[in-house]
Amino acid sequence: MITLTPKNKMAALLCSIVFLNLSLFALGGEVKNADNTKQNRIEIKDFAFNPQKITVKSGEKITWINHDEEPHTVVSVGKKFQRSSGLDTDQEFSIIAGAPGTYEYFCSVHPKMTGTIVVEK
């Protein structure tokens, strides 16, 4: 059995923080910009938005990047935020999250592709 001393407790804590940050980075979704503001990335791959649902704070930036060889768009259901143009491979599109609420969006080229943004205060 491993007993945690204050010293290795600290090491475990540091490890878990490092691991947590790496996990977040690897999964996409939430990462920090250089200025420590939160960045929200949505990867487009295999005709899907990943993560399909994302929760952000009002005022945060959300960026989509298209990894497919097929163009995709980001279009708000009900035109609640500005739509993207057709995104070619590796092209990005960003918006700043506005008023709190739930925003549905889809790809107007492949409407089976849908996503949700939840904006909190």
Partner: protein
Amino acid sequence: MPDYISHDHEHDGIDRRGFLQCMAWAGTGLLWTISGGVLASRTLAEIAKAGGSLPAATDLSFLQISDSHIGFNKEANKDVTETFKIALDRINAMPTPPAFLIHTGDITQLSKPEEFDTFDQVLKSCRTKDVFYVPGEHDVLNDGGKLYRDRYLKSVEAKGSGWYSFNKNGVHFIGLVNVVNLQAGGLGQLGDEQLEWLEADVKDLGSSTPIVVFAHIPLWAVYPQWGWGTSDSEQALGYLKRFGSLTVLNGHIHQVLQKVEGNVTFHTAMSTAFPQPAPGTAPSPGPMKVPAEQLRSLLGLTNVQYKQGKSALAVVDSNLS
């Protein structure tokens, strides 16, 4: 193998040999049902090899080309302009030129003016000058199709987002648009306004009038999980079911699939740009990479022949290899 129907016991335009040929035309595609109404065939390669012309009894011959995706430059085909040129060369090599071409959409990859320009420039080399278009979703990416409509609907009386009809040699042709105003989570869509127009368009036609409908996304449920279908196509087909011969030509899926239901023949064409996977055989329906030496065997065009008095039109695919 003969190119005509030799045993037609049911007087439905199909015999066993014709059925097998029909399956052969479908290539690697799927043939779901056969209950009547097919066809005589002759591939472009066979016609060229024989040095002859199209059968004398043919009253109308036209070609379908599709999904040229000018501007695409990824691994699946780094030179789609070249393969489009090869397709046009094949058309120019036909002893008897087709009366006209139908392009079933995705002229461009990203709806860019320079992509449309390249397409138009290359098309000038085609001996057949009359071309009828319907848009693909790649042609209406950023402006709802305005640029497309300004360029490609000059010779027709188009309505709404660009649908229209015309008559040739007693055949009624209908070009439908199912790639605009698509809804989240949905499929291709025609919309109420277009459906109303369609109903009125065919209202006064006799039931013996052969009908050819063309649109980009299949008007049958090829594989809805990948968006390969049109949500309100059943309603459209309902207006057309009384006709003795209905041929439905689509693109979008970059491969030949054929289904025959009663008097209705559904058919999808190959692309001139790149193949896509068979339904459900890949994580997504994106461009399919194949060895370079195989590419042209998976690209192609479709020849359609109409003979007066025959119940169905002959729909024949040939590849670019």
